[in-house]
């Protein structure tokens, strides 16, 4: 019950009109980016905690991470993962590029097609 309350209300708006210093669109995206930046810092420190615990327990040293050399196969797998990651993050840029390249004129909206396929002629 309390977890549900936390999910529902941890991000609650304080009473009082929110000031916007930029356009609302820009500020909305910046706010989301800053929340993600915070979570990135959290994830980074969690990895750091893990490394230090492994080092303390004698499993490995952090120096081994700094001097780590993947095998050629491993390097390929890692390179592929980064490519996949970038493609996923920049999805909207790819889609805009595809739209620019499509030289068939203005694209049809699904709403337009809905009318078309629902009519007698469709």
């Amino acid at each position: 019950m309390t977890l549900e309350a936390a999910l529902a209300t941890a991000s609650a708006k304080p009473a009082g009109k929110r000031p916007y210093f930029m356009t609302a669109e820009v500020e909305r995206v910046l706010a989301i980016a800053m929340a993600i930046a915070q979570e990135l810092a959290v994830a980074r420190t969690r990895v750091d905690t893990l490394e230090r615990l492994l080092e303390r327990k004698g499993v490995m040293t952090r120096e081994e991470i700094e001097t780590f050399e993947p095998t050629p196969d491993e390097a390929t797998e890692r390179g592929l993962w980064v490519q996949e990651f970038i493609a996923r993050v920049l999805r909207i840029v790819q889609q805009e590029a595809e739209q620019i390249r499509a030289d068939a004129g203005p694209e049809l909206a699904s709403e337009d097609v809905a009318r078309e396929v629902s009519g007698d002629e469709g």
Partner: protein
Amino acid sequence: MSAARVKAEYQGPPDYRAVGRHAVFPHTTHDEIERFNFLAQMNRHLGTRVLPAVKTAFERRVAPRVKAQGGRFETRHDVRKALLDDPYYQTWSALRRMTMEQRQQAGRWVAVRQAEQLAAKVAAVIAEDSGFEADPNVKIPRYVSAVDHHCMPGSYHTESFPGDVSAAANYDSGIFATTGGMLGRYSDGGGHAVVQWVRRNLPGFEPRRILDIGATLGHSVLPIAAAFPDAEVIAVDVSVPVLRYALARARSLGVHNIRFVQADGADLKGFEDSSFDWVQTTMFLHELSYGSMRAIMRESFRVLKPGGVVLHVEQPQYGQDMPLYEQAMRDWDAFYNNEPFWSTMHEIDLDGCLIQAGFKREQLIHGGVTAVVDRHVFPDAAEESGEDYGRKAAWHVVGARKSV
């Protein structure tokens, strides 16, 4: 870089794990702690790396533009409104606001997810201890209910269920991140500073009864109670959740000569005339309204014994000698961090208000204090060269002694 060099060169807030944990302090996971660490670093970054160029932007772009358009700055409000058009000020402001919202989010997540356990812990203390007194006749004043101070959803007074103290636990857990540890492990550096100031400036003052108004968690008054163990200390606030939490917090920290009573400082009818040696407020006046502040000063005068002392600790007033730019920057919290009385409060003639409340001009008290903290762990406000307008743990003391 070697660990020794990093240690030597590091300037910044201590790790959140240095925070003082009393019996009702909320539990925090690794990642919850790191969220606070990020926010403390963000505040420092904004204050030391981003903020200085706001002044440059003001001097090189904003002021020349206003001048070129034939305008001039007559008040701090003119400066602030001109700054609002500057993209760099917008960026700094948006990031500062977001950091505060993220701090509230982080603290509320921690507090609300364990609200029932915290409420049970506090209820167990209250069942055994008579140090908490509610008064159902106390109304939440407009200055508390109209907007949530420092963007804290539900402010100090909202209970999601009977006995809920998550508002208090959220406030308590996040102070360390907001101040970058500047107030010390238990956020009590302000209280320690007041004790030190009183010992130095009021030698021989041995109060028997002390009243702290607007106590919230009791974090600022506990050092006072601890410093005068023979005194009877009463801490009042309008909000129940903070008072209930404050009692459990105080007892856990070993402070027993203090009681927490629900009361509005503007109407202390439960307390007799001439019954206190010391009336204290710490970082409280700026969250009031003009009318309530004057009423609190009148009531403070009434309940003080002849020879008794009232002390208010606040950020410095906007004097004639404070540049309009600094005033405008100090006003930021008033308008963009939900501290609506902050701006007016800092221009008011507090001396005049105290005199209107009954004190004599020759009995007025003025001083300055900075947070007193364990300097092995925490940044020392007195030695911090930066100025994150309105956030620095350096305050003015304004008060008076009631004539004998």
